[in-house]
Amino acid sequence: MAYPTDRKYTKEHEWIQVNGNSATIGITDYAQQSLGDIVFVETPKVGAELTQGKTFGTVESVKAVSDLFAPASGTVSEVNADLATSPEKVNSDAHGSWMVKITLKDPKELNALLSAADYEKFVAEEGGH
């Protein structure tokens, strides 16, 4: 699949889309396919601090619990309320289903992340498609 170029990616299969000093975070289509049916998402509350590379929540499929890793540091400004009632939307539209919005602490952190092309290569090597 062609990953949207309007955002950057992590090796833990999160995406981050920047808009000025704010950023939106979600998980990739590869992630939702690997997880299977998503039944539960645990996100931090508004005001919580994220640190790049550290866990900030969990996403659960029927069979397993997976950690969410912060693509960048910042303060949570908004949480997607849909996640509590319709977690399956992450399966049907991973790139359109955001999880949290943050105010970025240090936009330079994003330089360390993967472009869409690099992420596609990375996923292909992982045995994905």
């Binding site: 299977g36 049916d37 539960f40 069979k63 619990v65 509590a84």
Partner: protein, 361 residues
Amino acid sequence: MGAKMVEFNGWDMPVEYPASVGGGIINEHMAVRTGVGIFDVSHMGDIRLAGPQALAAVQHISMNDASRLAIGQAQYSALLYPLGTFVDDVIVHRLGEEEYLLVINAGTREKDFNWVRDNTRQFDCAVENLSDDFTQIAIQGPKAVHLLQKLTDADLGAIKFYWITRGKLCGLPNTLMGRTGYTAEDGFEIYIPADETTSATVWYEILTAGKEFGVVPCGLGARNTLRLEGKLPLYGHEISDTINVWEAGLDRFCKMEKPEFVGHAALEKAKAAGVKRTLVGLEMTGRGIARDGYKVQDESGCEIGYVTSGSPAPFLKKNIALAYVPIEFAAQGTALKVDIRGQGVGAVVVPTPFYKRPKKV
């Protein structure tokens, strides 16, 4: 078929099938509850006991009463250690006058066979390990009988639940088919020759014949959620070599009126001494999913037990679990907590099984 595979006790097994074939744990689970799903369960083991003292041998190692079985009838039972704890659970099938088939779990094939052979030496009875001779396929769900009937000349309508029959299946003669399963639904388990060509042919014939019923291939993921909703035990979880029959709540399959069987004396003692802990059903009341091994707490947060199996229940649309707790916490309606990654999340003791298939009107 593109399934996500996992290693399970030395077997390469599908967890779930891809969406392109109608798979995914939730789809597979719902297919079995409302239509029909098929499972390759060849990892299960098969032990045949035959001979003049086959019944005596079975009676000695199995806790249920096999003398009640007519030819063609099956029963759920367990093989026990002298302490009254579980070697394995098993379905005992009476195939003939002096012939019984025990179908056992995959993870315990070697252990079970050795145990059966070692504990029946004193009986005039041949014990054979037929596990590698059979491919076993389970066809489960309200439409299972209609699917299978298309492929066999045996009159499946005449076979009651937990009875077996033989017939021509997909051209294979004299094939064993049992109206048994591990999904808490109606369904059949068929036993066909294990060579790859036959197995693949039959599998695909079932899928083709099942198209009109919306058949879905199902993996271990759905197998687990289905049996959990029906409170069917899984070895290593609800039953094990450190849990006894009374704790597991399997009294009705344990015929203490039999004069003896391995474990009988210990079970008598245990009953007299009083059971200290018991298996209960939990439904999460707070936001969270209880999973295998999570600790159970009382309302004040003190650890009192543990979850044996826990998962979202796709049909019931609840998060459920089975857990061992001290008997004083076992009453229905008891409020408890489950420690989910450091947080005590509310749960309540509920009646089991969580799901019972609708009775045919």
